[in-house]
């Protein structure tokens, strides 16, 4: 974020620097100086906080990952790559990574499709538009603890509403086969509102005249959907999927609330972030927890960079 805002400030001024004479370069320097003098002070508080609460903890985390530091910070020894070696052979690292990935695989397609359908509905419905929007978006405003507790009750085998309404007798939260599914259902209900809002905004920005022209050419509703709506929503779909992947990989709070900080039946809902927390703050192994969180950081960054690379390739292909 800092890089981009700094570039934005400097870019227009820095371009002519190579092609101009020394004199104008001087005046340029003066201009830049003035800009920094004014702008610099405004971004300074942000830069200080960013360095203090983002850059410094990251550097510190990298350092700690090479030590056997405990939570008290006293008596830490440098252990080289030991933590990383241990993480590689730790079955719980792989299990919890698998659970986070499984959750992501379930959530991302569902949320994308459901958000799109809800947006279509809210966009085309004529009566009580505001009510639909409110209903679809409202759960997103709840804190995760509320959402988690709510669904813990709804899934309750004896008195829960889910079984009652469906007329079934499923032990949602205590069976390995349904445990993660329960977390997914809670998450869909709780977070779909955000993607819904993105889709709704995108739908509203498609110019009406495209549809009118298509109608004049005899395109039916299906054709208009396939040839206008979906292509026009391609960018927003890409955004929704990317944001959801990154958010879902980091799943933590709702699962932890639903299972009262436990790992779920047969430890089937322990996510990677939860395992990191357990190692760091239950077992007090701050060095090891730092190492596995650095590994997780690398994985998430790779996913994000991979997506950017794919997107760029596709854009180049289009050109």
């Amino acid at each position: 974020m800092t890089a981009t805002s700094a570039e934005a400030t400097l870019a227009p001024a820095s371009k002519p620097i190579r092609s101009t004479s020394a004199g104008s370069a001087d005046s340029l320097r003066a201009r830049m100086g003035r800009r920094l003098q004014h702008g610099g002070w405004f971004i300074a508080p942000f830069l200080v906080l960013f360095a203090l609460f983002v850059i410094w903890p990251i550097l510190r985390g990298i350092y700690l990952s090479f030590t056997d530091a405990n939570v008290s910070g006293v008596g830490a020894n440098f252990v080289g790559w030991d933590n990383y070696r241990e993480a590689f052979h730790d079955p719980l690292v792989w299990d919890s990574l698998g659970h986070s990935a499984y959750f992501t695989l379930l959530v991302v397609p569902c949320i994308t499709v459901i958000a799109f359908l809800m947006a279509m509905l809210a966009h085309h419905i004529e009566r009580a538009k505001w009510l639909w929007r409110l209903c679809f978006f409202a759960p997103f405003l709840l804190p995760s603890t509320v959402a988690g507790n709510l669904w813990q009750w709804l899934f309750n085998p004896g008195t829960g509403m889910v079984n009652y309404v469906l007329g079934i007798d499923t032990a949602w939260l205590t069976e390995k086969s349904t445990a993660m599914l329960a977390v997914v259902i809670c998450t869909l209900w709780w977070t779909v509102g955000f993607s819904f809002l993105l889709y709704l905004a995108a739908l509203q920005s498609i110019p009406d005249h495209l549809y009118e022209a298509a109608k004049l050419d005899g395109a039916n509703a299906w054709h208009r959907m396939v040839h206008i709506t979906l292509p026009m929503l391609r960018n927003i779909t890409g955004l929704v999927i990317a944001l959801q992947i990154l958010a879902s990989l980091q799943v933590f709070d709702q699962a932890v609330v639903i299972y009262d900080f436990g790992p779920g039946p047969e430890e089937s809902t322990r996510t990677f972030v939860q395992y990191t927390l357990e190692e760091g703050f239950t077992s007090y192994r701050v060095g090891y927890a730092s190492a596995i969180s650095i590994i997780f950081f690398v994985i998430i960054a790779s996913v994000a960079l991979g997506r950017m690379w794919l997107l760029r390739k596709r854009e180049e292909g289009v050109r």
């Binding site: 405990n70 309750n156 004896g158 205590t174 069976e175 390995k176 039946p265 239950t282």
Partner: protein, 448 residues
Amino acid sequence: MGRPGLNRRQLLAGVGGLTVAGSLGFAALGTGADALASSANTRVRYWNLFSGGDGYNMIAMLDAFRKANPDIDVKDSTLQWGNPYYTKLAMAASGSRAPDLSVMHLGRVAGFAPGRLLDPWDMDLLAKYGIREQDFNPALWKRAVIDGKLYALPLDIHAQLSFYRKDVLKKAGLLGDDGLIVPITSTKEWFDALKAAKKSTKKGLQTVGIHANDQNFSWWFFVAFYTQLGGTYFNSAMTDVVFDEDKATQVLEFLRRHVTDGYAIAGAADAEQFMNGSPFVWEGNWSVPVYSGAKIEYGATPLPPVFGKQATHAESHSFVLPHQSSRGGSSNEGAHRLAAYIVKNALAWAAGGHIPAYTPTLESAAYKKLTPQNEYVSAMDHQATEPKAWFSGSTGTLAARIGPVVASSNLGSAKPAAAAHSMKNVLEKLLAMKNPMDGKTAAQGGAA
């Protein structure tokens, strides 16, 4: 409306000045200002983890202490129970910002680096305020001593109990002439009682709540019944695992049977069902104020001795002195005085369900009048506890690793024998592991 006569620079300077002044003000509040305000000479900073009914009781006890000792200003802070509490305490103790006094589960003391993150109690000072070893339950006192020094002053035990509804049990013919549940001494008697109680239970309610899917409760109940069978975990030198898989399997099969025979519904809201008419629930004694407040007819016994021997899981709240590099002086003495006062005046605490560690209170007429406390007070004499090791104690590493294994057996996703084997693996792994706090394994001094 006119604009204030300030330019931007003056405004920024003003806001900045206010911020600095404000933060200095808060800093002052944190140090001496409140001690000055209360005109007390000594300030004792005290951390605890009590919320709900326990929180009210503790505050009432602190207020009584303040009234009796106006020269001491007690600054108490209540923090969230469980790992967040212990993490903050460890960090404060290592960073020389430790409170003068704090509460800790006795089982966690061994893992809290006694000597480095905890300071030992000054026995002379304790004696000055009337604390003598012979006034405490010996089992508790022994657990609080590490390397010959007392690191924790026990306040209570909180035990796992079998709560029962008198109205339902009466219909089922399970109440004796004294109005209490008939004695149960074997698994057969227990399941017969459940069978009889089930017939008198409202439709849709389970017969007994055993928190089958909760990792903490599952582990606590296991500890109770495994102890009833005489099971142990490690040899005394803490070098070998002596966990008995056969006994463990027997316990796990017993717990599992509650679910398979339809007496317990896994995942049900156990306490709420009990208040709604479910005949039994196994819960900690901290539920006493909840059930008494709900005005239901109920009793509470220690967990039934189904394997012949009395034993119920118990943990203990105790007072500890978090490490301070310059511990001493009036605050330290105040901490000793406060802890001694609360331990000796814990009747209000006992009313909240806990069994007092201080035997004169335990034997007082006032305590003996409390119901259902007087029905389960014997739990003090047959406590089943986790092994004394650095990884033990409430919500500690052992509970976090082994609890889910018990729960998976309860729920049927792992066979009891397989779960018993997994439990042994967990114990072996932890025994070989070094305590992250001091780099020592249990055999090297993680436990005493």
